[in-house]
Amino acid sequence: MKDTVLAGRDTAGAKLGMWLFLFTEILLFGGMFLLYAVDRAKHAAEFHAAAEGLNRFVGAANTIILLTSSLTMALSIAELRSGRRERSLMFQSLTILFGCIFLGVKYFEWTAKIGHGIFPDSPKLMKLPKGQILFYGLYFVMTGLHGVHVLAGIVVLVFMLISTINRRITHHDYVRIENSGLYWHLVDTIWVYLFPLFYLIT
């Protein structure tokens, strides 16, 4: 590996550790996507009907928000490595902001659904065909788990922001924020798959 050991910090090991964690995340969400695939294959028409209840443009907007946050995340690391600390701080703040906006949009989506009586185990949901019950169950669990991951990512990024301000993260020692970026990109990638599977069922 090209990374070197820096004053007691094992950057190669840190990066490998992060990638290993990301692979456990792939397995975690992969298992749920598999469950989705089987349920959808067995209840194709009802999944399509249930997906009509979700707003595609809101979903698309959230996709753009998260993609943009990935961009600002990558830029923040690039700026830090080039020694431009203030610009890195700006991009880090933007990433956190976009993450919060994503969660805000999700909050409104969920409250709208719950306000209409659609939530796990609700009487209204239980009266719908089985395929639709499965769809909404998967929707709440998978977007919920993803939302928890976004929230955790925001907390981590706030710590990274503070560490950059305190100069604990510098343009020489930046593997922590690099790993945080890897995590954030993975969360974005998961949403890239969630969006067409829940919002764009033909």
Binding site: K15, F23, S70, L71, L186, T189
Partner: protein, 78 residues
């Protein structure tokens, strides 16, 4: 890069409104995979990460694929 991702997202939504049935889902997932690939290569720098990490990544994908294949075999041959 970001522009490519946004355009691919727009394409996915546009294809949906063409209402071409099952092909639409396959196209949407293909585009999603292209987007994921772009994120992996250009944001996560997978090609710089070294053989070990690249191999482990492929193994994780293969593992999910294998579990999925066996699950489908089981469920749909009952």
């Amino acid at each position: 890069m970001w522009l490519a991702l946004v355009c691919l997202t727009a394409t996915t939504v546009w294809v949906y409104f063409l209402h071409i049935g099952h092909a639409g889902s396959i196209i949407a997932l293909t585009i999603a995979s292209i987007k994921a690939g772009l994120i992996l290569l250009f944001f996560m720098h997978l090609h710089y990460a070294g053989r070990l990490i690249q191999t482990i990544f492929l193994i994780s994908l293969a593992l999910v694929g294998a579990i999925g294949a066996f699950t489908f075999l089981d469920v749909f041959l009952r």
